[in-house]
Symmetry: C2
Subunit: 662 residues, 2 copies
């Protein structure tokens, strides 16, 4: 396995937290040992299912996945840093998982304890395949990092059961209400070489949204069990079950489900060279980024059902934009980039990761956001109102804890986002200081990357080993959606370095050993085919703060602007700008000043602009014919991902701007 | 009884609808005879309870109240216009009510059919006293108009049962989850002279929010029955059950419940000369109008629980602002005005009636809004999202039909809002053409009012009869909250005419028989104590359209303006202004042109302003650094109450304005 070790001023504050704080903290959470936090019951459920404790199942039907995501995070963290105690703890947890597994391979404590012998009788709500999927992902990661196959074998047994059951006539049209199993089975096929897993995933994809509609009619079956007690009618669109997947052109329904599905669609489009499926992936991606995505890479406009709504419906103070949805979206973008070789997908992935995913976690790693609004007025985020779901302060641990462990596993696997190390090419996607250890033609190749990003657009790569790298050309393997500019083949082993040039990078400059070069640029990647071994490559670009504007079709943002610097969306906080951020106007014609503040939230670039503030009214009247005056004011912005780490208060990404600026 | 007959160009379009269309339509609705509308089941439930049909109860627990409100509306309509067939239909319905009543006086088909013998076992959700209250209100109105006491006697029996049951030790702290019985019992006491009803109402008021908290602990009782199957915990604040009423300083919880409670509080503060209770009414009124009321007189900021939230939280596109809440608020304002003699309350009442209540009904009287947002983007008002409750098109009849019959009874009783005819004074509150027939010292007195309002500020009163009216002074009977400017008494019979001068009326001018006069103004009323019998009094004032601004503390409206003309709030509709109303800016410095368009929606004053529109973006990108251009455009405004009567489309009350206007 390739080895990527992150050593980066920006990212280390998060990745170090993973091992030092979050993984141990979450282990305590799984064991209900975090004071003042809602109990997880997760380990307890496994112990009950394994016969080690007496009791009833507690928590959500998908509660088991907390452990799966924790194990996956542990696996990734071990790839960065050996940790004998942690690995021992994980091995014990894996044994517990094995003990909770039923004889036939079935694994799900909710059903084993609560509905013995009544498995797969509510696929719409039961999350059984979803849960299995997360354990499969964890087992694959654990196997790849540690080489130990105990966990993998446990999950193969579960996967074999799924392949058997879901090819019986009873289940010939069946799919899971919450997608995840599909992408997991693809990973399992990759690591085991067993194609039946991939084929099962492809069947699930192909069944979805087709008649007869299994999920829609499932509750009519005699053996249906009501596990959720949901009084609402089932909405096909909620689970992307409204149309065959190749006919889906708009991102619909529950946002996390949607992007997990799209990940598998992309995987399978590539594996089976299915152009119709690939086209659907492109359509869905474009629908999201052109019409349904927040500036922060957040998705899911409605708090009710945590779902996509309609094009350009992007309210800033009532949206869901779940952390898990942006994680899934980043996973989808990563697959699209890897298949197509197009850096545009990485721009989007970076947006989701560096804004919404990072926003989900407090800087001490101990509290988390589920929901990531772009505007918060804490005083009106009260329970049992339309803003019920908006939390102005990160929560210690949620009873429904999907996001915290999902953020953890994402940070722990950061290397997979930073670069793609392929047989013949290394694609540098995110600018994070790191050491990449791989090999080329059997010889070790080490690339050490120094980065000042996102503080500055300055990245340096020191390449060591790997023999002499020669000019080469693309192979034609990326034949799904990727156009080749140079199809002439060469005979000798080739190895390319591809460095992403983000859309926001102005005046990109490359040097090799101090000498300016102008590499060819393909789909947003600077391509180095020349001999670049044993060299020092530097990449610098300008990345000034700039005001951005939404398409005016976004009603919520019409007449508003936001500040970005590189991939980072900035926001106003009450701490810096006083109360009532809605009363502020930016002066978009005045210069924006950038300062690096080393003591603020671990060191951050703060932006300063000038603007106006609607004066407070002296009289108590709510409405009046008197036009409020505008006072001059200065505006201070911090990165969105770091909001809510100081005193609780208002936050806003979008603000009004002066029409005098025209 | 005093007789007020509305003959008014503006109001007749609604009041004529009541008799000609709405009352017959609603009767068909109650009988499940309206095609394509959700069935009411209301009459069917009564027939089942009466033993005339077999079947189960269907509908909401408060479904009976549809019939009560219909009967109340019929009563009022009969006071304007004899209608033998309608009265016969009402008499039959009253007999049906009597047949459905249980031996002991209990009346509620939901419990009689569904929970026989288990009455008053879920006051929190059961709506039994609420339902009884609406029948009592209807019976009182029917008695006052027709003089027939059959219905009144039925409801006295129910009221007697309530007085008995709710003074037993089991119920000594009990109140109803949804207030209404309190104000109804006051009315019953007024018409019957039986003080025990008022005393029971006072007890209910005094018990509310006190320890031991009956509603909060009710579900712990052994005999509690779960009639609603609500999974949410009970929120004391939802039913104004969080504090003793005299200590409540902010309007909280479900808005309809709140204002029905406040009505009774005002009634009882006056009846018992309870200054602490009166002070609470004033505090609550001020909290609403200064911090929690929409420009349209709508109340209830959250779709979830249809409730008040916090000060200045007034989102325009997700609010509830239920028609019934504004009806209840108007009733509260009317009481506050009548007790205090202060016209300011009438300004608020007029706002609620002429904007939100009228908005609730289509111009053909056949479809209705429950929810009255100030901004609607139809495309994103989709089910199972945060905008689930927002309907861009009025609905034929709701399964939960509280608003349509409530609007009907309000329009049918318009005379009660137009003026207060008291023994010694006539208070003219709303400017509606009408004929008021009353008496003074036994002599008939007729006042015929001609009005061009709200098209123009021009009202003329022709007074006939009533003998010679002499100079007089206030009596000291309004001693709760009303300060007297002239306390010197006179011996002879006095009769004042008080004409409200609204806050929006500029340059108010009065003439008597063409001769300019300058009446004394007390608390917003022009007071005529001089001899004004047999005279023609005219009142004219200016009422130009003007831009208004919310207190900047209202985040949703900061940097925005709205147009009003007199009490009418105006709005932009897509029909007149094209799509994307959020992209429009008003030029608040340019003049607003007013045109009367006789063919538009029955004749209406349309407003025209100039402004700018954010240009559409040509590229598909959702976000960009390119600032959208602003194009000049003209803006057309129609009254908010008439929105949604043409093609379905966007609507907005608040719009941005040019900061160049400063």
């Amino acid at each position: 396995m390739n080895h990527i070790r992150i050593e980066d001023a920006f990212w280390n504050r998060y990745t170090k937290l993973v091992t030092a704080e979050i993984i141990p903290y979450q282990w305590r959470a799984l064991n209900d040992q975090v004071e003042d936090a809602e109990p997880s019951h997760c380990i307890s459920n496994f112990r009950i299912a394994a016969g080690l404790e007496q009791g009833d199942f507690s928590g959500w039907v998908f509660q088991d996945t907390d452990l799966a995501k924790w194990l996956e995070a542990v696996a990734y963290s071990l790839s960065y840093e050996q940790n004998t105690n942690l690995e021992k703890l994980a091995d014990e947890a894996i044994e517990l998982v094995g003990s909770a597994q039923e004889e036939n391979g079935y694994l799900n404590t909710c059903f084993t304890i609560g509905y013995p012998g009544r498995q797969f009788k509510n696929l719409k709500e039961g999350h059984e395949l979803y849960t299995a999927g997360h354990f499969i992902e964890a087992a694959v990661a654990y196997y790849k990092v540690t080489g130990k196959d105990r966990f993998l074998n446990i999950m193969r047994k579960t996967a074999d059961l799924i392949c058997d059951v879901f090819h019986t006539s009873r289940y010939e049209n069946a799919v899971c209400g919450h997608e995840e199993i599909e992408l997991a089975l693809v990973k399992l096929a990759d690591v085991t070489g067993e194609e039946k897993y991939r084929s099962m995933a492809f069947d699930f994809i192909n069944r979805r949204g087709c008649e007869p509609n299994y999920l829609f009619t499932e509750s009519d079956r005699d053996d249906y069990i009501d596990v959720w007690h949901d009084k609402n009618p089932y909405l096909n669109v909620y689970g992307q079950n409204h149309l065959p997947v190749r006919e889906q052109k708009t991102a619909e329904g529950h946002a996390v489900r949607a992007v997990y599905l799209y990940c598998a669609m992309a995987d399978l489009a590539y594996a089976y060279q299915d152009l119709a499926l690939w086209q659907a992936c492109e359509n869905l991606y474009r629908n999201i980024v052109e019409k349904r995505m927040y500036l922060t890479g957040g998705i899911g406009s409605s708090g009710i059902l945590e779902r996509f709504t309609v094009d350009y419906d992007l309210p800033n103070d009532t949206n869901y934009s779940e952390s898990c949805a942006s994680i899934g979206f980043a996973l989808f973008c990563r697959r699209m980039a890897q298949i197509s070789g197009d850096a545009g997908y990485i721009d989007t992935m970076e947006l989701a990761l560096m804004n919404t995913v990072l926003s989900g976690i407090a800087m001490d790693g101990k509290s988390f956001f589920y929901v990531n609004p772009l505007e918060v007025w804490p005083r009106n985020c009260i329970p049992m109102t339309d803003k019920n779901h908006i939390k102005p302060i990160r929560q210690k641990w949620f009873g429904c804890a999907c996001c915290p462990p999902n953020i953890t596993r994402t940070l722990a696997s950061l290397g997979e986002y930073v670069c793609f190390v392929e047989k013949n090419a290394l694609w540098l996607n995110l600018f994070a200081g790191c050491t990449i250890e791989t090999e080329r033609d059997g010889e070790p190749l080490t690339i050490k990357i120094d980065s000042r990003f996102p503080y500055e657009g300055r990245v340096q790569l020191q390449v060591d080993g790997g023999g002499e790298l020669k000019h080469t050309a693309d192979e034609a393997r990326h034949n799904t959606g990727r156009s080749e500019t140079d199809a002439s083949g060469t005979e000798h082993s080739s190895f390319e370095l591809r460095i992403r040039i983000p859309a926001y990078a102005k005046n990109p400059c490359f040097t090799i050993d101090g000498k300016s070069v102008t590499p060819q640029v393909e789909h947003g990647y600077a391509v180095f085919r020349e001999n670049w071994s044993h060299q020092c490559i530097s990449f610098t670009f300008e990345m000034k703060a700039q005001f951005v504007y939404a398409n005016p079709a976004v009603h919520a943002d019409a007449g508003k602007t936001a500040l970005m610097r590189g991939p980072l969306v900035y926001c106003l906080e009450e701490e810096d700008n006083g109360e009532n951020l809605a009363a502020l106007y930016a002066d978009t014609n005045a210069p924006v000043r950038e300062t690096f503040e080393p003591d603020l939230m671990g060191g951050t670039v703060v932006l300063h602009a000038s603007g106006r503030r609607v004066s407070s009214r002296e009289s108590v009247s709510l409405y009046s014919a008197q036009k409020p005056a505008l006072e001059e004011t200065s505006l201070t912005f911090v990165p969105y991902h770091s909001w809510g780490n100081r005193k609780p208060g208002e936050m806003a990404v979008w603000m009004k701007y002066m029409t005098t600026d025209q």
